[in-house]
């Protein structure tokens, strides 16, 4: 069953068209990697799905319900959470407050389950344990990313979207985070993973799509994508075209 269906999504930033009719889907319990170069529209896609940007045209169905043009608050409540680009943790707040804010929409309703959920997040990211009262801004980049993901999980999402969680992190931390994503999938959470680090993303993903200039140009299994000429051209920049020339110039 598809947990998310996106049809012909068009989004503008002012007069510039960022998405030119994006169509894709995510099945329940899988990891979908979204690949693409800088400016391809990946972050715009996630921002639109979570209600931060308004779409000009297109349809988005989450669990069969239309969620397009709904407020971010409503969408989070339905179970679709975003871990935004560059972590965007609340620097001046404590780790605990950051996590509690992740549960903003159900803070009053189920106050009792909050500590339980916090415990679950600390179980997933043991490195955060013991730092609950620290100011989030002083944490290392890796811990901040874990905190950002933990904050997203506090909303109890059915579908978690991550925008470049590996950016600026050491390879060992990236591996740790990718392992956590696999574990979350086993627990039944669907994941959409936007990444520049294609190699890392393709290792954990069940399926992947490649976005170029606001459109999905390829979709398929990671094994198919790794060897696809067009992926190499569009994204990895290894063969042909302008990017290929650059690659050749650098001795590839």
């Amino acid at each position: 069953m598809n947990i998310l269906d996106v049809n012909g999504l068009k989004v503008f930033h002012g007069r510039a068209q960022a998405l030119r009719g994006v169509t894709f889907h995510a099945r329940e319990g899988e990891i979908v990697a979204v690949l693409g170069a800088n400016g391809a529209g990946k972050s715009t896609l996630l921002g639109t799905l979570s209600g931060i940007y308004a779409a000009k045209a297109g349809e988005v169905y989450f669990k069969g319900e239309p969620i397009i043009r709904q407020s971010p608050g409503y969408i989070v409540k339905q179970g679709l959470s975003l871990v935004p680009e560059h972590r965007q943790i609340f620097n001046d707040l404590t780790v605990q407050d950051n996590l509690l804010l992740g549960a903003f929409h159900r803070y009053i309703k189920d106050k009792g389950t909050l500590s339980e959920d916090m415990e679950r997040v600390l179980g997933i990211f043991p490195a955060l344990r013991g730092r609950e009262r620290q100011t989030a801004g002083i944490l290392s980049g890796g811990l901040q990313q874990m905190l950002a993901i933990g904050r997203g999980l506090m909303a109890r999402p059915k579908l978690l979207m991550l925008d470049e969680p590996s950016i600026g992190l050491a390879p060992i931390v990236v591996r740790e985070i990718m392992e956590v994503l696999s574990k979350l999938r086993e627990d039944g959470t669907t994941i959409i993973l936007v990444e520049q680090n294609a190699a890392a993303a393709l290792r954990v993903a069940d399926r992947a799509i490649v976005i170029e200039r606001g459109q999905v140009i390829i979709s398929g299994k990671p094994s198919e994508l790794v060897n696809d000429e067009r992926v190499q051209h569009a994204y990895l920049g290894r063969t042909g075209g302008h990017a290929g020339n650059v690659a050749v110039a650098f001795g590839y």
């Binding site: 969408i75 620290q134 290392s140």
Partner: protein, 336 residues
């Protein structure tokens, strides 16, 4: 930290006793009136502190809300003979409503544009006060505001007013402290840190900023209403743009995003203003009020250099980072 707590409670107790006995110790009404003004301004700046310190927005319209509250009391009591409670209620409700209306479009503005919009609003309101004809009394203002009267108890002496004002300040202080620790306070600080992430977590930042703005106007109006009752006559001058800047100065010097900051900032700026009024003519004869502005500028620059986070944060920040270092938990933020 039991020892730290003990010190804290001792300090609070000492400050409390100090405030209660102050009117008996002070022989001059002049000094008492300064403390009353500090209390009134503290209400106004506490409001500004919420919108600036928690929501991270700069407003140059606080004196206008202060003025709307004051004029509400003045007009309703002199023209329409309203009682204290309904007049004070109007003094808080009216600025809140105005804030709700102008906040809707202006809070969407990013960065410095909100400051400009509130600046324009402040100037506009000031013009309305001066050109309001009989209703506002024009440039000379309104006189004959009756004494504040709650259930037959008349606040006709400065010391009575002193207790009333500071009781209100303490109540507001406790209210803001609660807000600071609540879900709303946390959400406001989250918006200040990252609006995108706050939205992504389902915080409606526009609605929350509007609430903060309305609450800040509410406190300004409360201060304005009490002010009108205290001075019993008002003119447009104390609600001008310069005063708005002073409020911002007080909030910044005291420390943004802290609950003690507003009172400290107001105390310092008012005390300094009074001191300069005595001192400057001794050094430079025939010096006008402009010299005060030079000194305020100097103080603001010094504060920005040596205490950019405000007076009230210095102590806490030091102890926090020390604690972190002791336990070896302070990490340099790699790769950011």
């Amino acid at each position: 930290m039991p020892r730290g707590n003990l010190m804290k409670y001792l300090f609070i107790a000492a400050a409390g006793i100090g405030f209660v006995v102050l009117p008996f110790v002070l022989k001059s009404n002049y000094l008492l009136s300064i403390f009353i003004v500090i209390g009134i301004y503290a209400l106004v700046v506490q409001g500004l502190g919420i919108i600036m310190g928690y929501a991270g927005q700069v407003s140059f319209g606080q004196a206008a809300f202060f003025g709307i509250g004051a004029y509400a009391v003045a007009i309703l009591t002199t023209h329409y003979h309203w009682g204290t409670i309904p007049a004070l209620l109007a003094a808080t409700v009216l600025p809140s409503l105005v804030a709700a209306v102008i906040g809707r479009p202006t809070l969407k503005l990013k960065e410095h544009y909100l400051a400009l919009a509130t600046l324009a609003f402040g100037l506009l309101v000031h013009i309305i006060f001066s050109e309001g004809g009989e209703l506002t009394g024009g440039p000379s203002g309104l006189t004959g505001i009756p004494y504040l009267n709650i259930g037959g108890f008349v606040f006709n002496r400065d010391y009575k007013f002193y207790y009333l004002v500071w009781a209100v300040v303490v109540l507001v202080f406790l209210g803001v402290r609660n807000l600071d620790r609540s879900r709303i306070g946390r959400s406001l600080r989250a918006i200040r840190d990252s609006e995108v992430a706050a939205e992504a977590n389902g915080i409606n930042s526009a609605a929350l900023k509007l609430k903060a703005f309305v609450f800040s106007a509410f406190l300004a109006g409360l201060g304005g209403g009490i002010y009108a009752y205290y001075v019993t006559f008002i003119s447009p001058a104390p609600f001008s743009f310069n005063i708005s800047i002073q409020f911002v100065l007080m909030a910044v010097i005291g420390g943004l995003g802290t609950i003690c900051g507003p009172v400290l900032g107001v105390g310092l700026v008012v005390a300094l203003g009074e001191a300069l009024r005595w001192l400057v003519p001794l050094v430079i004869p025939h010096a006008g009020g402009e010299y005060q502005i030079i000194f305020f500028g100097l103080i603001l620059v010094l504060a920005m250099i040596f205490k950019p986070e405000g007076l009230s944060t210095g102590w806490r920040k030091i102890t926090d980072s020390e604690k972190a270092e002791e336990t070896g938990l302070l990490e340099t933020s790699a790769n950011t």
